[in-house]
Amino acid sequence: MQLRVRALESILLEKRYIEPAALDELIETYEKKIGPRNGARVVAKAWVDPAFRKWLLADGTAAIGSLGYGGRSGNHLVALENTPSVHNIVVCTLCSCYPWAVLGLPPLWYKSAPYRSRTVAEPRSVLHEFGVALPDDTEIRVWDSTAELRYLVIPMRPEGTDNWNEEQLAELVTRDSMIGTGVAKRPQELSK
């Protein structure tokens, strides 16, 4: 693959379809700048700010845009709220659609055949492999991203965080909890 990619790069640069700096910009952006800390900030704000939470659930794109996140794979954002009786989990069975603007690029498993094939049919068994055990009667809502909507799960706020501020709370919000394959960390799980 390395040689084939080098060939593609050489041809596209030599023919001036692309300037080299464009490639650096893209790699730098998605490797370093855009990642799940964006989404964590959104979630933390939703936890502390009822008006923002309401806006977020009514118009995800606008509410998240107000924090400066959007653009590529983030033009149509929908927030899904977990509750004691409903757990949301996101998948893209057809390819690998994922809310880059708030979570960065997806992990390998999200793009893998096991996750794509199984999540729509047996989400409990998938969740089990992620260590998430839900009560038997929790409704599991699977969202298959078949269009350009991108989903962000708002996990439940952990107990014992009543006086925490947004910045502290954001530390509890894992990437997986925003896909639905995890839950937010409890305060005692925070390292250091």
Binding site: M1, Q2, R4, V5, R6, A7, L8, E9, S10, I11, L12, E14, K15, R16, Y17, I18, E19, A21, A22, L23, E25, L26, I27, T29, Y30, E31, I34, G70, G71, R72, N75, H76, T93, L94, C95, A101, P107, L108, W109, A113, P114, Y115, R116, S117, R118, V120, A121, P123, R124, F130, D137, E139, I140, R141, V142, D144, T146, A147, E148, L149
Partner: protein, 219 residues
């Protein structure tokens, strides 16, 4: 199309494998494969739906045995050949061969930054009001187009409920084959898991898909 990409509900792929540390990229060529595809996308030679169609059109044995970014590489090669950006000889030689025809406006760092931060919304003005509203019972049509569609096989023929009228969005089935955006109303449709996977399946499961109006009929 009923290709290897449409794998919702398939069995036999094994457990979900979670990497202990999850690098964004696993090799330098993955970075480049990602960046080249994203950058050439900005040049608007083809659209994302056409790219997805080309990727899912790879023969299933190849699709399922190629790594994620490997699929991007193979698809980019195919698209460059199809759209006359490169010849087989050039791909083999690994560089442009004379006479080199240079593109008029290269994709610059500024252009990709604009793409990243602004994206490209898929909603379009609607020519007519939506046919369905939240709460309506709808059936996903049983269709098997050989061209691109975003209606997964597992949903076809099944009855669900509209839970959201999303908006009027570019229709991938048209956009992928170069006959225009042909925007249609898009709905979020929720199915009971038992409707999709049978009466013996987990009764607590609900599955939502986004479905364009042509995918749906009243139920």
């Amino acid at each position: 199309m009923n290709g290897a990409a449409d794998m919702g509900g398939m069995h036999g792929f094994g457990p979900v494998e979670i990497e202990p540390n999850e690098p964004v990229f696993h090799a330098d060529w993955e970075k480049k494969a990602f960046a080249l595809n994203m950058a050439i996308g900005v040049a608007n030679i083809w659209n994302l739906d056409a790219f997805r169609f080309a990727r899912e059109s790879l023969p299933p044995p190849q699709y399922l045995n190629t790594s994620y970014y490997g699929l991007w590489v193979v698809t980019l090669e195919n698209m460059m050949l199809k759209y006359g950006i490169a010849t087989t000889e050039e791909l083999k030689a690994g560089h442009a061969l004379a006479p080199v025809k240079k593109a008029d406006e290269p994709v610059t760092a500024a252009k990709v930054a604009n793409m990243v931060h602004c994206g490209s919304p898929y909603d379009r003005p609607a020519a007519a009001p939506p046919k369905f509203k939240a709460g309506d019972k709808v059936r996903a049509r049983n269709v098997h187009p050989k061209t691109h569609t975003r209606l997964p096989r597992y949903a076809r023929g099944h009855t669900g409920e509209v839970v959201r009228v999303v908006g009027c969005h570019v229709f991938p089935d048209s956009n992928a084959i170069g006959i225009g955006e042909d925007a249609h109303w898009l709905y979020t449709v929720r199915f009971d898991g038992r409707e999709l996977w049978g009466q013996d399946s987990d009764p607590t499961v609900r599955v939502a898909i986004e479905a364009w109006e042509p995918y749906l009929e009243s139920a």
